[in-house]
Every structure is written in C-alpha cells, then in structure tokens.
Amino acid sequence: GIQVEQSPPDLILQEGANSTLRCNFSDSVNNLQWFHQNPWGQLINLFYIPSGTKQNGRLSATTVATERYSLLYISSSQTTDSGVYFCAGGTNFGNEKLTFGTGTRLTIIP
C-alpha cells in the first residue's frame, strides 16, 4: 500500500502567523483529503483535493499529483487552528479506505 509522510511533525507559531504543511505520497493517489483533529479529538474534513488548488476561508490546499505531494496553507493563524492536521490518500476517486499520514501537530500561541 501507499506510504504517507507529513512534515513538519510539530509546529509552534504565534497567532497571526502563516504556515505550510506538507504531505508526500509514495505512489500516485486519486483520492487525497486533509483533516483537522481539534484538541477535543473531533476530526473535521477540510478538503478533498486529488489535484489542483482549493480555498476555504483562511485555509487553502494544493496538490501536485504528478509529483505526489500536497500542501496545506493556513494564513493568519488563530488559536482555534491548534490541533493535529492529517492528510490521507487512496487510489480510487472516493468511497474507499484511506491511508493516513502521521500528522502535523500545530500549536498557536496567543
């Protein structure tokens, strides 16, 4: 199966800062999703982005499928952005099991 690596493993930033999280895949994926797990453990689906760029408020994501990586951008960080960010990939176009990365733990300091 595919391997998913995320970097950096930990990130500590001041409120208002911008950040870039990276996800690398060992093989081609047709299903790529980003999740945020808040400090209470709830996983929120941020993006389904097998290719291209999407934006949702202060968050945006870009996937370069041919180079097997995806980036998650967080602008003007707020304390509510704290938590763990996971990317996950699969080889179909949805409705399938995903392989999750190890996550990036983001801490936003007021």
Partner: protein
Amino acid sequence: SAVISQKPSRDICQRGTSLTIQCQVDSQVTMMFWYRQQPGQSLTLIATANQGSEATYESGFVIDKFPISRPNLTFSTLTVSNMSPEDSSIYLCSAYTGYREFFGPGTRLTVL
C-alpha cells in the same frame, strides 16, 4: 456532509469484558469504517463495515476480537471483545458522503 454520532462517548471497563460501540449516520451511506487511534498517534483502520455482508478486516485485526455489525445503511456497531489494557484507545467510526470521509466524535475506552 454527514453528521455522525457515537455511543458511548467514553467508558472505563474491566479486563476480560466486552464493549459495544454504536455509530449512527444521519443519512444513508455506502461505506462505513472503524478506526483505532492510540494517544498521540495516527489513525489505524480496523475494518470496513459492509452492509449485508461480513466486515472486511485489515491486517492485524480479527473478527473474533472486533466483531462488527452493519444492519442497514445508517448504522453500525463495533464490539471490542475480551478486553485487555492494550485495547485502551479512541475508537472512531466514519462514513463517506460524496467523495469525502466524515468522522464521528470517537469513543474513549480505558481498560483496567
């Protein structure tokens, strides 16, 4: 999106006992999954809950230990059987709506 609820939200159990976790989705879905997440770790898939047939288990997980039911398109249960302290973890169910996977709030299990 899908709204997913789980019961119980947390439990403390004695070793050797079993616990059944319920997962309810607010709409009919094709694919439902069960995951385990150890503290500070990523998610590990336990099995795919198939409606109308036996669940599909991942390597390292067996039906005798983690029996799963999927009686309809909105509901599934996971039982953790003959528990040991190593089963202490967060158990999460998920479902797809469209191309996206959504998660329940999780069940925090502590085995003494």
